[in-house]
C-alpha cells in the first residue's frame, strides 16, 4: 500500500469515527427522549383513566340505590296518604336532584351556587325520609362569591350523605347537619360539614364489625379523588375530619374542606 493510500485510510477512519459517534449520540438521545415522553404520556393517561373511574364511582356513590329506593318509598308514602301537593313537590325535587347528579358529574367544576342548590335538594329529600328526626342548616357567608367561586363536583354530597347515614342514622332522637360555607379570600373558601350524630370514632367501631359498607367505599373514593385532584394541580383541597367528642362535650363529626381555586384557570377554557 502506498503512503497516500495509508493516509487516506487513516483520515477516512477518523471521519467515519466522528460521523458514527455523532449518529450514535443523537440516536441514543432521541430514543431516550421518546421513551420518556411515552412514559409521561402513559402516566398521564393512566391518571386520567383513574380520574374518570373515580368520577364514575363518585356518581355511583351519589346514586346510592338505597337512597333512591328510600326516597321513592317516602314519596309513595305521601301519595298513599293522599298528600298530592307534598308528594308532587318532593317528586319534582327528586327529579331535579337526579338531573343535577348527571349534569354536574360531566363537568370538571361547578359553581358554589350550583353545589348549594344540589345539597339543598338532597337534604330536603333526606328530610322527607327521616321526617322529624332530621333537620339541616345551610349557612352561607355573605361575602362569599357563590357564582364565581368553583369546586370539583361530587365532593360535598358524599360527605353529607356520610354524616346522615353514619352519624345521624344511629343516633337516638333528632339529628342535625349543618353546612357552613365560609369565605377565606377571593380565591379560597372553607366548607364545614358538622353533624351531631354518634361521631366518627363510634361509627368506625360499629362498621368494623360489619363488612365494607357503601359509605366506607364512598369515603375511599372521595379520598382518592382528592389526591388525584391535588396531583392534577388544578385544585388544592385540604381535607380534615374530626370527632367532636375529642375536643368538647358534644358528640358528632366535623369535616372541613378548604378549596384553593384558580391554580390553572386557563386549563378550563377549552
Amino acid at each position: 500500500m502506498s503512503e497516500k493510500e495509508l493516509i487516506f485510510i487513516a483520515l477516512f477512519s477518523v471521519a467515519l469515527l466522528v460521523v458514527l459517534s455523532l449518529i450514535f449520540l443523537f440516536m441514543t438521545f432521541n430514543n431516550r427522549k421518546n421513551k420518556l415522553i411515552q412514559e409521561q404520556l402513559e402516566t398521564k393517561l393512566n391518571n386520567q383513566k383513574r380520574q374518570h373511574e373515580l368520577e364514575l364511582n363518585a356518581l355511583r356513590a351519589q346514586m346510592n340505590p338505597h337512597f333512591v329506593h328510600n326516597s321513592l318509598n317516602a314519596i309513595q308514602y305521601y301519595i298513599q296518604l293522599n298528600q298530592v301537593e307534598k308528594s308532587e313537590d318532593y317528586l319534582s325535587k327528586f327529579s331535579k336532584l337526579m338531573r343535577q347528579f348527571f349534569e354536574y358529574s360531566r363537568k370538571e367544576r361547578i359553581s358554589v351556587e350550583h353545589e348549594i342548590s344540589l345539597l339543598k335538594n338532597y337534604l330536603e329529600i333526606e328530610k322527607l325520609r327521616f321526617e322529624d328526626d332530621f333537620d339541616f342548616q345551610l349557612n352561607i357567608d355573605k361575602v362569599l362569591d357563590t357564582q364565581d367561586l368553583f369546586l370539583p363536583p361530587m365532593i360535598l354530597q358524599p360527605i353529607v350523605e356520610n354524616a346522615i347515614n353514619h352519624g345521624i342514622f344511629h343516633k337516638k332522637g333528632k339529628g342535625e347537619v349543618s353546612i357552613d360555607f365560609v369565605s377565606i379570600n377571593d380565591f379560597s373558601f372553607k366548607v364545614e360539614i358538622t353533624d351531631d350524630g354518634i361521631g366518627i370514632n363510634k361509627s368506625k367501631l360499629m362498621n368494623a364489625k360489619k363488612k365494607q359498607t357503601h359509605t366506607e367505599h364512598s369515603s375511599f373514593v372521595l379520598e382518592e379523588r382528592l389526591t388525584l385532584l391535588r396531583e392534577s394541580k388544578h385544585w388544592d383541597v385540604a381535607f380534615t375530619i374530626q370527632d367532636l367528642a375529642d375536643t368538647s362535650n358534644k358528640t358528632g363529626t366535623k369535616v372541613t374542606l378548604i378549596f384553593k381555586e384558580g391554580l390553572n384557570e386557563d386549563d378550563y377554557d377549552h
Binding site: 477518523v14 471521519a15 469515527l17 466522528v18 441514543t28 438521545f29 409521561q40
Partner: protein
Amino acid sequence: MFNKDVILRLLMWLPQIAAFVFAIVMWPKYKNTTQRNFIYFLGFVLVIECLGYLLPILYGVKRAYVYNSYTIISGLFLLTWFKSILQTKRLVIVFIYVFITSIGYCLFFQEFGVLWKIPLVVLAIAILICSTVFFSDLLAKNEVVNFKTDQKFWIVTGCLVFYIGYLPLVLLQKYFGLSGIYYRIPITINIILMYGFIIKSFLCLKKN
C-alpha cells in the same frame, strides 16, 4: 488567487468569529449560567489565532509558543467548566491534576518551542471521558426530553466531536506521516464541526 493555506485559515477562522459574535449577541440569555465564561474563552481563541498568525511573521516568534500557551489555558478552562457541570467533581479534579502534571513534565523535559503532544493527548482523553460522563448523567435525568435546547449538550457535543477526531490524528500522525495539508484539512474540519456545535449552543437559547 488564494493559496490553500489562506483558504484553510479562513475556513477555520470564520466559525470561530461567528461563535464569538453569537456569544456576544446571546450574552443576556446565558450570563447567569455556568457557560458565562465562554464569551471570554471564544474571544481568547480569536486573539490566539491572530497571535499565532502574526507573531511568527512580524517578530519571528515560534508558533508553538502561542499554541502551547493556548493548550494550557484552554485545557484548564474546559476542565474547570466540566467540573462545574458534572456531578462527579472528583474525577475532573483528578484530570486537572494529571493535566497540570503533564504540563510540568513538558516544561522540564521538552522545549517550549515545540508543540507539546502529551498535554494535548491527556486533555483529549480527559474531555472524552468527561463528555461521556456528562451524556450518561443527562440520559438519566428527565431534562433529556429537552436536550435539543440544552446549551451544555451542544457545547459538550462540540468538544466530543473535536477530540474524538483529534486524538487519533495526534496519535497516528507519527506512524502515517500525517503532515502538511493531510493534517490541516481534518483538523480544520474538526474545528468547523466543534464551533458549529458551539454556535448551535447559542442558537438553541433563542428557542428557550
